[in-house]
Symmetry: C2
Subunit: 140 residues, 2 copies
DNA sequence: GAGTATAGTGTTATAATATAACAAATTTTT
DNA sequence: AAAAATTTGTTATATTATAACACTATACTC
């Protein structure tokens, strides 16, 4: 148990818990309706928790979906350095953990030599399972 | 003059025109209020034009800002393969045109060997001009 | 060139996503 | 324990985006 998870507040824990239970990214209002039984009543309570969880790197925002997903990289302390693959068909999102790609991104400089604090990269394609289904469907 | 720009409809032209006039990305409702004098009255008219312009690669969506920016890469026929740098301070967005980075992204495969159709990469940092301002401010 | 398919338009209403503002309670620091 | 910082709870509202439907224009094909 690390420092960061110890210091989570009640609402932050509730929201993180719910996000971690889900394989797919979840939407803010879906979180809200699912945690209302736990005493979270209104959007700002959810959004505040989300902001904090993003800040400490426990979750990431999937920009192209307005959704939120738990960080899969253990001991992640690098919010805002994220790489995802997203299936165009089923919308499942996987966090990519590829050292070579990370290095390319970390080392990237623009023409001015600007060093970047962070990045977000989203790859779009068709996941294996969806591709197989498509092949099945064209078989006859 | 290429095929694609010839075939733009009236509303598509109006919206593209406005986006191209702006250095910074623009928001959908800002587009709307600025083109109302040209006869575009309601959000769906703007969003439809945006969808089409994105589809043909004339503009890109800046996911982290919910904003839209003209493609700066001449004869761009690759929608959904975008790299931007975004200043955290002034929110200015530049489209990055870096062949080596493009190659890395194009060649990337995930663990399953999935080939991706597209990607969106956003780098975050402080642009040169904002960095200089910050240094000025700490000088005394 | 008549018929039909495809894409675009205009409109109203509403859904989905996100934040402002403020008072009260809690936790952390000094 | 007082002061500071963070979190909470709440109401209201701002911002972003789409559904649905009737209609018009353009392109395609026989």
């Amino acid at each position: 148990m690390d420092k960061k998870s110890k210091s989570l507040s009640k609402n932050q824990k509730i929201v993180l818990d719910f996000i971690q239970k889900n394989k797919k990214p979840v939407k803010a209002y879906s979180i809200l309706s699912n945690v209302q039984k736990k005493g979270i009543n209104a959007p700002p309570q959810v959004y505040r928790a989300l902001d904090k969880l993003i800040e400490i790197g426990k979750i990431h925002r999937v920009e192209s979906q307005n959704s939120f997903v738990a960080c899969k990289i253990s001991n992640c302390d690098t919010p805002h350095k994220t790489v995802f693959s997203i299936c165009n068909s089923c919308e499942i999102v996987s966090e990519i953990n590829d050292p070579k790609l990370f290095k390319n991104l970390k080392d990237f400089r623009d023409k001015d030599g600007t060093v970047f604090d962070g990045y977000n990269l989203e790859f779009f394609g068709t996941c294996k399972s969806c591709k197989n289904k498509q092949i099945e469907n064209t078989k006859h």
